[in-house]
Point group: C2
């Protein structure tokens, strides 16, 4: 293997928990440059060396990360959104979500996005887990949080942010996933968390605080 032990890790890297067992799969950063710097997208192209010594290039989007919230009303219904998503050309049913500001903890982002997009504030929060949603070409990680003890308030949408609210029962969400009308990956993963938590199989640790 030609990669040095102290070669820099890629931008999205944290210490892999399975490093010892999987070092034969690793890729080492050699050089890199930004190839597009847009209003939204930061696109990079890096030269890397595979564990077997093969050189390769890797193109990817640098993303700040995001948080998605499962907001549960006292009557059990879920606070959701409908929003036009231009790249896929359709209105999508989603849980409230948004990008992390620089250095922003996921819980703070979740609280902010829930309030801005829906007007709801939550008495209790739980951090469930996280997902990598486009890891072949993006550093993005989406944190999944739960919110309950909700109280309604004023929304604060950004200019040009057009979002409808929808209150759905869990069985309606499940049916929309089954029949193919719900296709947003982060919302489907959030539904998995919701169902496994309701079943008592996966645990949530709730904390109190606006």
């Amino acid at each position: 293997m030609s990669g040095g032990a102290h070669a820099p890790l890629p931008p999205g890297a944290t210490a892999p928990d399975n490093e010892a067992a999987a070092s034969h799969l690793f890729e080492r950063h050699r050089s890199g440059q930004q190839v597009f710097d847009g209003r939204l997208l930061d696109v990079r192209c890096d030269q890397v060396v595979l564990a077997d010594g093969t050189p390769a290039s890797r193109e990817y989007v640098v993303h700040p990360g995001a948080a998605v919230v499962v907001p549960i009303l006292d009557d059990g219904r879920l606070v959701m959104e409908r929003q036009f998503r231009y790249p896929v050309g359709r209105v999508m049913l989603e849980f409230p979500a948004g990008k992390l500001d620089a250095g922003e903890p996921p819980l703070q982002c979740a609280r902010r996005e829930l309030a801005e997009e829906t007007g709801y504030r939550a008495r209790e929060w739980a951090v469930a887990g996280r997902m990598h949603n486009a890891m072949a070409y993006s550093t993005e990680v989406i944190h999944v949080l739960f919110a309950r003890g909700l109280s309604a308030g004023e929304r604060a949408l950004d200019a040009g942010e057009l979002i409808d609210l929808a209150l759905l029962h869990e069985h309606e969400l499940d049916a929309a996933a089954a029949d193919g009308t719900l296709t947003d990956a982060k919302t489907l993963v959030a539904l998995l968390w919701l169902q496994r938590w309701r079943a008592g199989a996966w645990k949530l640790h709730w904390v109190t605080g606006e």
Copy 2:
């Protein structure tokens, strides 16, 4: 609203099934250009007009789509992969998956990727559903398929494709999702499909054929 009724739809668009109810959320394409043309990534920037008349720009990746396979062995174990994903800097546990070739039907892609990456061929296939995994900035859609009646054969990995195989029981996959070691969104959505199908809640329509 200033958008014309016959303005072109964005690249990833198919006829929305909720057009009548949601036209107040639509965005109309005005002009666009390619801003990066790499080996892997095709990045565009379009000028659009929101439903309320506000102009905006939209940056996104044009993606050919992908297929992910849930391959079930006769003993119930699942055929999975471990692969280093450079943008997130770690080895990921995933179901076998790959990008659609131009014009390739999802089932054909799934059959090809399963054979190439794992060596397994399947006697029965089912198309489960699909997900949009990064719809804020990518046209990508990932089709979810199931395969059973598996027989082992030769793999045909591309040069530089370093993939370990792993055979997991469903309860191991569930535990890995719960404890945060499994974070790949398409694999988590596939797990949701697997659990809802096993529970008899979601239906799969199996077809026979290599």
